[in-house]
């Protein structure tokens, strides 16, 4: 009995915390189906700058799907930026798989002094914020003639150090004995990599992919700095362009923007959990 009460209290507390964390998302969902009049009335302190506090209710008085219709059928520019985001995400993820996975395998399975130094360098670079490297990146991209093209956003992300760091952890979990056994059986390095390394390190790879996707889907600084043409901008830069007078449209666009991120997260949730657990466990 006491145990059940304890469990109930724990669950209740966690539910309250979860609700608080989810409140912004709930607001977005509620705002996306509210009428324009309701939104204007509740957001007037922000829209008209006439002082006072914003009054936002969760339940709409006059629910409507008009904003979704406006976004999906009357805003072709939304789809331009949506597919830009998809393109950037797919190409970046593909590039990261091509580059980061072999790099992580090399760091994990071929230790040496040089590798140790490089890995340390990778770790330092990973911790640097974008603002620190922005100017040097700008100069390099300009010299390469990539400024104003989506490759200026994709290429630096492809060679990002964060996936290497995550995948490396997964590769280090593979027992050395397994690799030795395969080597004894006559398997070469590439065969060991493709048939043992990739399958057994897939959790790390997929968790890195999920986190990379979420990061790329929300990129703001790199597109803003390197892309001048609005037709090349991703979704994350489109939402601020929507005027405050079209708050309903902005909410609806936010909901649609949220859907792929949620679905990808659901797809990779297990791998993320496994990756976090593996990192926490001691060998």
């Amino acid at each position: 009995m006491r145990r059940r009460m304890k469990q109930g209290l724990t669950l209740g507390g966690l539910a309250v915390l979860a609700a608080l964390v989810c409140l912004p998302v709930i607001w977005v969902l509620a705002g996306s189906i509210k009428s324009s009049v309701e939104l204007s009335d509740s957001l007037s302190p922000i829209l008209l700058e006439n002082g006072g506090r914003v009054r936002f209710t969760l339940w709409p008085l006059f629910p409507t799907l008009r904003h979704f219709m406006e976004v999906l059928l009357q805003s072709p520019s939304f789809f331009v930026v949506f597919w830009n985001s998809v393109r950037i995400a797919v190409l970046t993820l593909g590039g990261q798989l091509m580059v980061a996975v072999p790099a992580a395998w090399a760091f994990a399975r071929f230790p040496s002094r040089g590798n140790g130094f490089l890995f340390t360098l990778y770790t330092v670079l990973m911790m640097m914020p974008f603002q620190v490297t922005m100017l040097s990146s700008y100069l390099v991209l300009d010299n390469l003639g990539l400024m104003g093209r989506q490759a200026a956003v994709i290429l630096p992300a492809v060679f990002s150090t964060f996936p290497v760091f995550l995948i490396y952890r997964g590769f280090t979990e593979i027992p050395e004995g397994l690799v030795e056994a395969a080597r004894i059986d006559g398997a070469g390095d590439w065969r060991i990599f493709f048939h043992i390394g990739l399958p057994l390190g897939s959790s790390g790879i997929l968790s890195a992919a999920v986190l990379s996707f979420l990061e790329i889907w929300n990129l703001i600084e790199q597109p803003l700095a390197f892309l001048e043409d609005k037709a090349l901008w991703p979704l994350s830069l489109y939402l601020p362009e929507v005027g405050l007078g079209q708050a309903g449209t902005a909410f609806a666009a936010s909901v649609i923007t949220l859907i792929p991120a949620v679905l990808v997260f659901v797809m990779g949730q297990d791998y993320l959990e496994k990756g976090i657990v593996a990192a926490a466990m001691k060998e």
Partner: protein, 567 residues
């Protein structure tokens, strides 16, 4: 036996089990749905977009075509005027009669003309004499005015000179009086002078001086006597001591004669001092009296000089004011004399009357020379006869002569806007029978404001004979070409906003999320001229390369995204 799927297929199958599989399926469906919406929204967007046709500005001149419906009317009439007051002997024509140029219309009474000529000549002579007399009077008046002016100038100059000299003299007298007053010494100096020159006072001072000298001498003598006495006394004592010391007997007694002399001198000194005191007192008394008398004299003299100065000043001011008045009077007289006489037009009027009388005489003489015959100046038809046998002519026309046979006029009403492009003498075309027959080479005879209709102008032109029938309708057409304008756009491109300002919409490229699109930009313009198809704009309003939106298949406002019309 090797697994058919291989490790990769197994992994893949395992990877998409459960919620992962459902999420992946949802993601795929979501992406397909988004693809469909992409196509649909783009189609709707394009369908809603306004299609426009554009044109570039051109450099050209504008043709203003003025067309108006009109009617053929009878030709113009001319009046035959005869000097008024002539007796008509005989009227030789009747209404409707066709006459040739130079044909006689009527005969005037020659005797009556003769009489009138005689009267006119007398009147002319009278006016001429009046004119001569007026001219002589005017010349005499001018000479008188000139003489008066000369005299006034002389009077003025004399007045100025006299005023200056008199004022100068009075001023000199005044300054002299001032100088004399200033020269009068102050009281102390005056008194000192009087005292210096007074004999009695000098005598008294002499007496006092003498007494003081005597007194001084006596005191010296007394001092000397006293010194001798003391010396004698001292010697005597010394002798007695020596005697006392030596024991010798005294030989002589002290001398007492010196004492008596000293006493006499002291008495004299005392008497002298008293006498001196008395003399000084007498002097002081005399001095006081003298001072009192002198003060009186001095003040009298001073008052006299001040009065003299005041009189001199008054005299100067009086003379000065009087002189200024005289000068002012002379100046006014000079102004009056210099004024131009009032304008008088009687001479000019008389001259005109003389000329008019002469012209009338000449006209009567001309009539006499032709024996009173009045002839037609040009051929035409007698439209109206106002003259009657035996009556006198009036100011109204004796005959109205219609234009040459068959000559008609075409009249049309133009609007104010149309009349701006039509001038008298312009070449034009009139078409009849619904445009099937045209009469070219016509010229505008007149363009006057219509009295019957407001803001309308009546156009008149002459039609040659045989071109049309009276009352027939036709269409007037005139084309006027303006100067070359550098910026002309189709008339449909002009728009007006709520503030009645004229503007055009120009295509411009704008970067949007959909790439480069076309947008309408508002450009205010000033219209210099326009006809039915084009409008001329102020230079520089639109660039030659800019595309102006001429028409659209919907309503467009500034900033709207548009697209070019499908060919």
């Amino acid at each position: 036996m090797r697994d058919k799927g291989g490790i990769w297929r197994q992994r893949l199958r395992a990877g998409f089990e459960g919620s992962r599989g459902r999420a992946a399926a949802l993601l795929g469906q979501f992406l397909i749905f988004m693809m469909a919406c992409t196509v649909l929204s783009r189609a709707l967007y394009t369908a809603r977009m306004v299609q426009v046709t554009v044109g570039n500005s051109r450099s050209m001149s504008l043709d203003h075509v003025v067309e108006a419906e009109g009617t053929v009317l009878e030709g113009p009439k001319s009046a035959v005027l005869i000097p008024a007051g002539m007796r008509i002997a005989q009227v030789l024509v009747r209404e409707g009669q066709q006459v040739e140029a130079g044909e006689e219309l009527l005969l005037l009474d020659c005797e009556d003309i003769q009489e009138q000529l005689l009267k006119k000549r007398k009147e002319e002579e009278r006016l001429r004499l009046q004119l001569e007399a007026a001219r002589e009077n005017a010349a005499r008046q001018a000479a008188d005015a000139q003489r008066n002016q000369t005299r006034a100038e002389e009077d003025y100059n004399d007045a100025v000179a006299a005023a200056d000299s008199q004022a100068e003299e009075a001023r000199a007298a005044w300054e002299e009086a001032v100088r004399e007053r200033e020269q009068l010494a102050g009281w102390d100096s005056y008194l000192a002078g009087v005292q210096q020159e007074d004999l009695t006072l000098r005598q008294l001072d002499g007496t006092i001086g003498r007494l003081e000298q005597e007194l001084s001498d006596l005191r010296q003598e007394l001092d000397h006597l006293q010194a001798e006495r003391e010396q004698a006394a001292t010697g005597h004592l010394q002798g007695e001591r020596e005697q006392a010391a030596t024991g010798a007997a005294g030989e002589s007694a002290p001398d007492t004669g010196k004492d008596e002399d000293a006493e006499n001198v002291a008495a004299q000194i005392l008497a002298k001092e008293q006498e001196l005191i008395k003399a000084r007192a007498e002097r002081e008394q005399y001095l006081a009296q003298l001072s009192q008398d002198s003060r009186q004299q001095w003040e009298q003299k001073r008052a006299s000089l001040e009065e003299t100065e005041r009189q001199a000043q008054r005299s100067y001011e009086g003379i000065r004011d009087s002189g200024e008045q005289n000068v002012q009077a002379a100046s006014r007289a000079l102004e009056d004399a210099s004024q131009k006489p009032l304008s008088d037009s009687s001479l000019a009027l008389l001259s005109m009357d003389v000329e008019a009388a002469g012209e009338e005489c000449a006209a009567l003489e001309a009539l006499l020379a032709t024996e009173g015959r009045i002839c037609a100046e040009k051929a035409g038809q007698i439209a109206q006869v106002s003259a009657e046998n035996g009556r006198r002519t009036t100011d109204e026309p004796a005959f109205l002569l219609a234009a040459g046979e068959g000559e008609l006029t075409f009249q049309a009403l133009l609007t104010k806007e149309q009349s701006r492009y039509v001038n008298v003498g312009d070449e034009c075309v009139v078409s009849f029978d619904s445009g099937r027959r045209k009469v070219e080479g016509l010229t505008v005879l007149s363009l006057t404001e219509s009295k019957e209709e407001e803001n309308r102008y009546r156009l008149t032109l002459l039609l040659p004979a045989g071109q049309a029938a009276m009352g027939q309708s036709g269409t007037f057409r005139l084309v006027r070409q303006t100067t070359n304008y550098s910026t002309c756009v189709p008339l449909e491109a002009l728009r007006t906003d709520s503030r009645q300002q004229t503007y055009v919409l120009v295509l411009s490229h704008v970067e949007t999320f959909l790439g480069e699109e076309l947008t309408a930009v508002k450009r205010p313009v000033k219209v210099l001229d326009k006809n039915g198809t084009y409008a001329a704009l102020e230079e520089g309003a639109i660039g030659a390369e800019e595309a102006v939106i001429v028409s659209a298949d919907g309503i467009i406002e500034e900033g709207d995204i548009v697209r070019m019309e499908e060919p």
